[in-house]
Subunit: 213 residues, 2 copies
Amino acid sequence: MAAQKSTQPATGKSAPDSTRRSEKSRRAIYDAALALVVEVGYPKTTIEGIAARAGVGKQTIYRWWSSKADVLMEAFLDLAEQSVQEPGPTPSAFPDTGDIAADVKDVLRATVDQMNDPRFDVPSRALAAEGVVNEQLGRELVARLMQPSLDLYIHRLRAAQDAGQVRADVDPRIALEFFISPLAQRWLQHTGPISHEYTDTLVDYALHGLAPR
Amino acid sequence: MAAQKSTQPATGKSAPDSTRRSEKSRRAIYDAALALVVEVGYPKTTIEGIAARAGVGKQTIYRWWSSKADVLMEAFLDLAEQSVQEPGPTPSAFPDTGDIAADVKDVLRATVDQMNDPRFDVPSRALAAEGVVNEQLGRELVARLMQPSLDLYIHRLRAAQDAGQVRADVDPRIALEFFISPLAQRWLQHTGPISHEYTDTLVDYALHGLAPR
């Protein structure tokens, strides 16, 4: 896996100095890749351009990654990992307090905060825009960046089904879209403002339905 | 309004020959604009390029439209109008049979068919992708291309509230997102397949809710 290669560069040495140099290069490469995709767009971002901006040789990049898509995916995964170090909900785990409404609201509020953070917003938009017109990249973004989150939603919704809080005949893969898709569309397509109050409302409407009970 | 200008070009003449020539030019300009945005992307599409491809002078375009965004918006409105001429549901009206579930399913099935039509899919993606990274264009796309459809959903949902089929305390502007946003995300971001069966399921889940009744 590329993710392993990047954390344990195949330098042939294991001395601490070499590891530190590699870590520094890796971070410079991620920063350069994210900055370039914002400035010139995905099609014009090249391995050469990333290398020049990061101040490393082209071969350093090719030693660890096979393509610019590969570098960018890992730069985003790294960006998400960095946010885990910060206070707040952990994106790699889904809370389970036994109350599905409260738990989904918690996660969506954290997602809103992330979308409102320019460090994520700007490069995420640049990559998402390319995924709209470049189906192969779009599918890679889904598989590598979105699917882990979708799996957490599915897992939490299944637990809610076991607990009798979500109907047993509901497909969790479709149900989760009521939580994430309206928010994604407002964010990506500028169709409306996003806030904690908005995502709380989505959760209430989705669980209780639009029709009278 | 630009839309009026384009259907009644300010040629200073009203002879049928002049009108025919203008209509032919207008169509050539729309076709050229849609083709260019697909081929070179929105940023590199220019009035000059559209004029050259359409075989008209730059001034012909500037006489009727103020910018490339203006030309493209109207080319899309025209594309949507053309589909009205064809058999099938009319996008400019929302059915009201008295059954909100059946009516929304009808409209969403037609939307799925449109998304699966390359004539709409390819240029729509190119424009939507630019709207993701270009907020001003994104907001124009919403106001001029999406809002008329959203208004039809709101109007139909209000009628359903009056008929007691949708709860009175639901905000129709948010409720409509359960119908359109999951489909939009699957289509734009390649997160999943789209089909009539899928959109039928969205309508049933949204109306009845995910929690047991």
